[in-house]
Each structure stands twice: as structure tokens, then as C-alpha cells.
Amino acid sequence: MNMVAWYNRSAILLLVLAISAYATASASPEFAVLAIPAVVALWRLSSRKTGRFLLPRLVVNILLLAVMVFAALRAQAGFNVQTIAEVVVLIQVIKIGDRRQPRDDAQILSMSVFLAIAAMLDSNGMWTGAQLAAFLPLLMMTVMLYQLYQGAVSAGAGATETPAGRQSSFRRQLRATCGLATVGTLALSLIVFVLLPRGIGANAFGSMGVAQHARETAFTNSVKLGQQGIISSSPSIVMDLVVRNEGGENLGGADLVQYLRGAVLTDYDGMGQWSASIPDRPQRAETQMIPGESPFPVGSPVVPMIEQSVSLRGTSGKDRWQYLFALWRPTRIQFSRPGYLTHELQSHVLRAKIDPGPFDYTVWSSPVESPRDIDPARTPVPRGSDRLRSIATGILDRFGIDANPESRPQEDDTRAARAIQDYLRTNFTYTLEQESPPGDQDPIEYFLQERKKGHCEYFASAMVLLCRSVGINARMVTGYIATEFNSSTGAYVVRESNAHAWVEAEDKDHHFKRYDPTPQDDLMRLHKPASGLFGRLQHALEAVEYAWNSSIISFDERTRQRLLGPTRGEQAGWLGRIQRVSNRVSNAGGKQVLAALINGVAVFLAVTSAGLVLSWIVRNVRIRLGGRTSISRAIATTRNDSRLYTKLLRALARQGLAKPGWRPPLEHAGALAAVSAHLAADVRRVVDSYYRERFGGHTPEGQEKKALLELVRRVKRFRPVR
């Protein structure tokens, strides 16, 4: 493969990767499906016509005009990254079909870089990142090859060609240089990445550079029973959650379930519709959040405190309030990006207005309510229908609890709520099947009296209404339950399918406590993480994705300071860093360090083995596709520049006159004289040509090549005298 062919191959791969990265980032596979074949086909065609027009100039001009019109039309609806990327790809396609000079190639490569940047602006996802990570070394290699290609074309006759005998050395050294450049660039970029301060100048230029790809989840702040609602079977990840106590100890575990509150639904219309009542100003605090500043208080701090680091994979979009998820009851919160925060004082619902894209925040919760935050006046409770009241009375009677709130001691409220929860858990069945109630019947009454099966929304709705009917203040909470703990990352993976609804009911101390009336066995079965080989693979992949998100996407000023800046009482400089590392190691304990080492070695071995197996497969597939025999493989896979010679070896092998690996070609040709002088002469001529090509840089062309091919055919047709 000469330099130009090598460059062509690299460049086309680079284009494909850039388009693919952008299509992944913008979640538009149709973009890739249309653009990639067009780019590949045009590149292949135009590579054969270097320096000439593939498309007539008139056609090119018309196409460019069409692109301009398209851009203008799109610009009317708003000129965003997507429009620019689409225009770039269209121009790229036209450019490839146009005249091909080195300068045009440079423009095409530049457009690929623009496309990669557009992908970054669109998404920070791991798959986009993975493709961009592959894009980087390929870009370097292609640019290097372009430099050589362009230099050779510019110098014209003054360019020296690398002799055929030195091609492999040239390729080897170029690859090594590319590797060196890639490693060096990555190392320097890592230093720059870490050293650059974060948080300065954020949002100074509006939304410039902000990832535009908003992400919608199934989570809503309203529930309509009998409809899809928050119920989803999608395995896509909504967030990663790390839960720690005040000492920094991870509180997560495979058998520990965390309830992440989102919206609190209080209003029920009697026909299956739940909605959140957004309180007015006095009950709602709104503030601007600045990253890097100390955590903002959203309630009175009470120990013990649970720290939750939440990484939302995407937020819903600009100018929209995004629910933030936290354990009961949030007291402090800190943002990684600037934005606005709304805190509802009664329900402790947190919402944020931020730019779209991944978003990290840390929230501290305390399961104990501060007396200062409690409203001593008992909230009036809507009592609901008589039928519900009779059901609730029946349940409480079974447990010997007075159903009348006037006469019931307040201490029994908790018992009453638990009784209703247990009643629902034991007498009703969990199902995801949807069924509408007949006529205009209340779906809750239908669920309680007739159907007796439903999903979490039905259970939570029923419990809230039953509690209310006996004078217990209750509300429905929607959010996610975190059940899937990844021990390798120490984080919970929360998926769309983990959306859930449960209940908070007020006790005698005016504290809201969580109740989950959904049958727990069914709930755990549904939210059980995938097991088996596929599950483990999925876990490993998610661990990588988590690492990507936590170390690259979520890298903020706080992390930077933690990495670089000396903390109070610690020594600055390298000595301080060494001290901190040793402190961490000693805190973690030898067992954990050993586990980390074993994990590291295992991952290294796994990756290396996978790479070796893959390269073995690729090599074998290539040999199979090339049709080389086992006899010629040893030579063909080393430094074979002549197809003719390979054909000759194959022909000889078929005749049973295979050249032993140790015997030089000319000597073998001489040895064939014992079989047939004519055959030996033919073989010798082909071998001579191979020597001239291999060592003299003379490639047979035209008539000479035809004559040599004829010789090889004669060798194939040769019939030895028996």
C-alpha cells in the first residue's frame, strides 16, 4: 500500500467516524445512514480521478446553491449546531465530488474536525466520546499522511519516492511517530484539561458551546391512572447516584434500596388525574446557583446527614424546570453548573432551571426533620368519598384502630398508615397491564373494589386516598427507586424503568414518613438488575460509562481543587500530594488497595487479550479473503510487495512444487530444473521480476506484466511427466 492509498483509507475512515460521532451525538441515525454511503462512494470514485472533475462544474455550482438555499431555510427556524453540521456534511459531500487537489483534501479534513466539534456541542455521552477518542489518533495519522501527500504533490517532480524496499520501514516509523504524537498530545491535553480553572466566565456568551441535545425522561409531575404515566420499561440510564454518610463512607449496597423523590402530587380530581400544586412565593424559594460556592441551604441542617452525588445524564431543556431527585429530606444542595433553583418549603421538592445536557449536583439529606421546619398547624385533609372511607374503616377495624380522626389518638396515625400499606401489599396484585374503569367510575375505587391489581401508581393513589379518608394527611411522591448498585463504581445506576410512585403520610409529630404500598416482592422482581453474562457485560459497560461521566463530564472546579489544590493543614506541592496519596491508601486499607490492583491487572489482561484475539481474527480474515495458501502465507504476511510472486507461489504449491520457507526464490527456481527446464525458466523469469520490483523499485506494467501473468498461467497449467 503506497502513501496515497494509505492516506485515502485513513481519510475516508476519518470522515465516516466524524459523521457517525455526530449522528450518535444528535441521536439521528438516519443522518449517518444517508451521509456515510454517499461520502464513501464519492470518495472512492473521486480518488480514482485525482486532479480531475468528478462532477461537472455546473452541477457542483447548482448543488452548492441548493445547499445555500437549504441553509437559509433552516436558518429561518433558528441557526443551531445541527443546521451547521448538516450544511457542513452537504458541502463535504459536494467537495468530495468536486476537483480533488491537496487543498480540497485539507478543507474536507477541516470539515470533519468541525463535525467532531459539533458532536461535542450536541452531546457529552460516552458513545460520542468513545468515537471522538477513536477520531483523535486517526485524525493525527490522517493529517500526518496528508502532510506527506500534500508535500509530494506540491513538489511535483522534485519529490522522492520511498523505495519499495523501504516502504515497510517507512510505515513502521510513521506509525511509531503517530503513536508518539498521540500520546504526547493526550498527555499535554490532560495537563491543560486539569490546569484550566472551571467556573470562570460561565454563561458570559449566552448559550455558546452549550450542548444542545436535551433529554426527555418518562418522569412527569402528573399522573393519569390508566395511562402510561411514569411507567416505563426503557433500560436507558437516567442518573448515577452515589450515597455517602458524613464520614465519606459509601452507603450503597446491592440489597439497599434508595427512594429518590422527584415530584409531590397532592391534587386528585376524582377521575384518576394527580397533579402537583405549585405553591406561591411564600411557600417557594427561588435562587440563583453558582457552581463552586458553598452548598445552598434548603432546610435546617440536622444530623445525620447523607450526601448524594447525582449525575443526571441529561436535562429536559432550556427554560424548563427540571425536577432534581433527592432522598428525604434535602437540607443543602450544590450545583456543578450555573442555574436557578426552586425549593418548595412544605414538600421539599427541588427543581432547577439549567442549560440542557448532563448535570451534576450534590445534595445533602437528613432523614430527621428539624422542628424548626415543621408547621405545627395540622393541615386540613380532604376526606374523599364515602366508599373509600368505608374501605379504610374496614381496614383499620381489622387492626383495632379507630377510623375517626377526631377520636383517634394521634399516635395511631402511623399505625393506621402502616395498616393501609400492609393491606394493599397483601391483598392486591402488581401488574403493568393497563385497564380503564368502565364508564365514569373513579379508577381508584375500581382498583380497590373490582380489579384489585395495578401498578405502583394505583397502589400509591389508593393509599393516599384511603389515608386521607380517615383523616391522615398523605401525598403521592413520584421519583425513582435506586436498586441497581454497581460495586465496581460504588454508584447506583438509575434507569427509566426505575420510575416509581409511593406515599408520604404525616405522623403525630407532623413528620412525613415514607410508605410504599406496592407489593415488595413484585417491586424487587421488576427492578432487579439484569443477571447472567449479558447483565455482567451491561454492568461492565455501565461502569465505563460511569467512569466517563464522573471523571470527564463531571470534572468541575471542586474536583480540580481536590486534585491540585492543597487542603487546609496539608502540605502544598509534590510532597503534599505524595502525602495525600499515602493518606488515601492508608485510609482505604490494604485490602482495598489490593482489590484495586487486582482489578487493574485483570482489566489490563482482559483488554490485552481481547486486542490480541481481535488482531488475530483480523489477520486471518484478511488472509482468507486474500485467498493465500498456508504455504505462501509465511512470505505473504512478511513483506510482500508483489501479487505476481504470490500467485506464482500459489501456483507452485498447487502443482506440489511448493517453495520451502528456507529456500531463496532463485534457488528454488534452479531446483525446479530437475522437474522441467521450461518450468524452471518460467519461474526464474517471474522471480527475476519479483527481485527487480522488491529491490529495484521496478514494477512491471503493461506488456511486461501481461507476459509475466502468462508465465504464471503456464506454471498453473504445467503437467509433470509421470
Binding site: I117, A159, T160, F170, T177, V192, N203, V210, A211
Partner: protein, 380 residues
């Protein structure tokens, strides 16, 4: 510039959005710039350049300038090296050739590469070189780094080859043979020259036995060696008061050179006389002598020619000569055995055809066409 602009926008986007992928891109952009500088610098630091001397060139004939590129670096190979000759006041090559530009894709660590840059000289004269430069934009094309080598060197560009009519050449060389200047000396030819007394060291085969027997004294035969045919080429430049024309002089020089080459090919010893420059090279039939004559014609400077001069002395006058006049033919300038050619009307001497058209077009080649980037255009 584009790179810096893009990097700037990436930086602004990263700071504004706090998008870490953009921060990473900014890091890559800065890292790439630094690595580009380091790699290109490292490879250039170990690169050495030498000239490979070559013989004289000729106007209108493709030749090569030879260079040897060595990489003394033990580890780093050098890639994408561009070799150029920078223009300066001290060099004269820009008057003769377009800027030479060579490219070496790869020189391995401790390796070397021979580079031959094709050049097409368009004007005669002495072509001097001084500094040669190796530059590279490898690996990423972000910055061009270069290293210069002081390699003073000069080459002579001989006048353009004009086709001379074969009949004229025959006529001139025959005239050279039959002239009085065709002296005969004893030697080892085939013709009988005379007898002389035997001397020690003479071969017994040379002894003329019959004569020796008659005279009683050993005598040996001597054969002749014919003197080479001698032809003087005399270039007559304008005298005082005569119109001077650079184009005519160039044409006269080219005709003189063409005659010299033609006569040499016919086996004649060619001498060159340029009275205005005080040059008189005695006829010799060696390639070196021809080259010397052509060298003188190549470097002849119009400004240094005298306007008062006479036909050269007796040695030229007694031999066959062809006088090439830069202006009108002056038959008084020369001897009775002189053949006259005028640059104003060389039709009798030069053979018409595409080769002549091309040669004459090259003589008229405008100097401006050698500017870099402008396509070369020859006027017929």
C-alpha cells in the same frame, strides 16, 4: 490562522458552557500545537544537507540539482522535508531557473536520501547558489519550521542548443581540412612521411630493410599523423558606433556555441576567439576544450565587452574560421578563408524546425516569467 481561530472559539465555548469535552478539545488543540513544534524541531535538528556537484547545464535541457539529505538523529526519523533555495541578493540562480523545490517523505534515523530536483534553465550564465533550506510542516501542518545550510555553489549554464544545418558543418570542416593550417607531423598514422636513422628504442618492425641495405645504415620508416581539422569560431560583437542589441548578441552567442558543438561532433578541433573580450582559445579537439569554449560563451557579459577590437592575429587568420556577427555581416572582418554568419539572418546556418523554434523562443524568454508561481510560457 484557521487553527488559532478555531482554538479560540473552542476556548470561548468551553469557558462559556463549562463543557468538559470542549475543555478537552482545547487541551488537544494546545497539546497538538506543542507536540507539532517539538516533533518537527526534533526531526529537523538532526537533519543535514549537502549538495551533490553536477556538470554544466544547458539552456532548454532538463537537468537535476543533486542533494544528499542525512538524518544524524539516532532515534527520530524525519518526515515531510521540503528542500528549497531561498532567494537573496547574493545568488543568481533566480535569473536562470524557477525556484527549485524538492520533497523527501521520509529519512529514517541515521539514514540518508538522495534528492534530485529537476530544473529547466532558461538563460545562459553563471548560476550561483548560497543557502539551501530544509523546512517541514510535519506532523500536523500547524507551523513551518526550517533550518538553513550555507552551501555556496555555482554552475555554468551553457547557451541553448540550436540545430545547425549538416551541410554547413560539412562545408566548414572540409574547409578546415584543406586549408594551409592542416599541417602534417610524423606519428603513427598510415601514410608514409619519411625515413630517418635508426635510434635506440625503435621497433625492429619499423626498419626499412631495403633502404638500409642500399645505404649500409639502418634507417626506419616514419608515418604521418594528420593534424586535426582546425576551425576557429570568431564572435564579432558590435564595434564603436554600431547598433547594439542584446537579443542579437544572445543569438550570436547561441549560434557560436551551436557551431562549436557541431564542429566538435564532426571531429574538428574548435578554437574560440572573442576579440571584444580578449578571448582566444586555441583549437583543440578534446571535450574539455569544447566545454571551456562553451563556458566562455556562457558567461560572456555584454556589459564587459570592448567596442574597439580587430580580427585576431595570424594564427586565426591562417586557419579556417567562421565569423559570427552579432549585427550585419562585415566581410572585412576576417580572412579569405572565413565563413560569415549573421545573427540577424542565421537562416543559412540553422536548420529550421521545431527544435530551432524552441531554441529561439528560449533566447527571447522574458525574465519575469521566472517569478515563483507564474506559469512558464515560451514565446515562439
Amino acid at each position: 490562522v484557521i487553527y488559532i481561530v478555531v482554538t479560540f472559539f473552542v476556548a470561548v465555548g468551553a469557558i462559556n458552557s463549562q463543557n468538559n469535552l470542549l475543555f478537552a478539545s482545547l487541551g488537544l488543540a494546545i497539546g497538538g500545537l506543542l507536540i507539532s513544534g517539538i516533533l518537527s524541531g526534533a526531526s529537523l535538528m538532526g537533519t543535514r544537507l549537502e549538495r551533490i556537484p553536477s556538470g554544466p547545464l544547458r539552456v532548454g535541457e532538463r537537468a537535476v540539482l543533486g542533494y544528499r539529505v542525512r538524518n544524524v538523529n539516532r532515534l527520530f526519523p524525519a518526515f515531510g522535508l521540503t528542500i528549497t533555495e531561498p532567494q537573496s541578493e547574493s545568488v543568481t540562480w533566480p535569473r536562470h531557473i524557477r525556484p527549485p523545490r524538492g520533497f523527501v517523505a521520509h529519512v529514517g534515523a541515521r539514514g540518508e536520501c538522495i534528492l534530485e530536483l529537476p530544473v529547466d534553465p532558461v538563460r545562459r550564465g553563471r548560476m550561483s547558489f548560497d543557502v539551501a533550506r530544509i523546512s517541514t510542516t510535519f506532523p500536523f501542518g500547524l507551523a513551518r519550521k526550517s533550518v538553513s545550510f550555507s552551501l555556496p555553489y555555482w554552475l555554468v549554464v551553457h547557451p541553448v542548443e540550436l540545430p545547425v544545418r549538416a551541410a554547413v558543418l560539412r562545408k566548414l570542416t572540409v574547409r578546415a581540412v584543406t586549408g594551409a593550417g592542416a599541417a602534417v607531423v610524423p606519428g603513427e598514422g598510415d601514410e608514409f612521411y619519411g625515413l630517418r636513422e635508426y635510434a635506440d628504442g625503435d621497433s625492429p618492425r619499423w626498419i626499412a630493410w631495403r633502404r638500409s641495405a642500399r645505404t649500409g645504415q639502418l634507417v626506419v620508416r616514419q608515418n604521418t599523423t594528420p593534424m586535426p581539422r582546425q576551425l576557429w569560431i570568431v564572435l564579432r560583437t558590435p564595434r564603436e558606433g554600431e547598433p547594439r542589441g542584446g537579443r542579437e548578441l544572445e543569438r550570436a552567442i547561441a549560434i557560436a556555441a551551436a557551431l562549436a558543438r557541431g564542429a566538435f561532433k564532426e571531429g574538428a578541433a574548435v578554437g574560440l576567439a572573442i576579440p571584444a573580450a580578449g578571448i582566444a582559445l586555441t583549437p583543440q579537439s578534446t571535450p574539455r576544450a569544447l566545454r571551456q569554449s562553451l563556458d566562455h560563451l556562457a558567461v560572456l557579459d555584454e556589459g564587459s565587452l570592448r567596442t574597439g577590437f580587430d580580427f585576431p592575429g595570424s594564427s586565426v587568420r591562417s586557419a579556417a574560421s567562421v565569423v559570427v556577427h552579432a549585427g550585419e555581416v562585415d566581410r572585412g572582418f576576417g580572412s579569405s578563408r572565413s565563413y560569415h554568419v549573421s545573427a540577424l539572418d542565421p537562416g543559412d546556418v540553422l536548420a529550421p524546425g521545431p527544435e530551432l523554434d524552441r531554441g529561439l523562443a528560449l533566447l527571447d524568454f522574458p525574465a519575469a516569467d521566472l517569478r515563483p508561481g507564474k506559469p512558464r510560457r515560451a514565446r515562439a
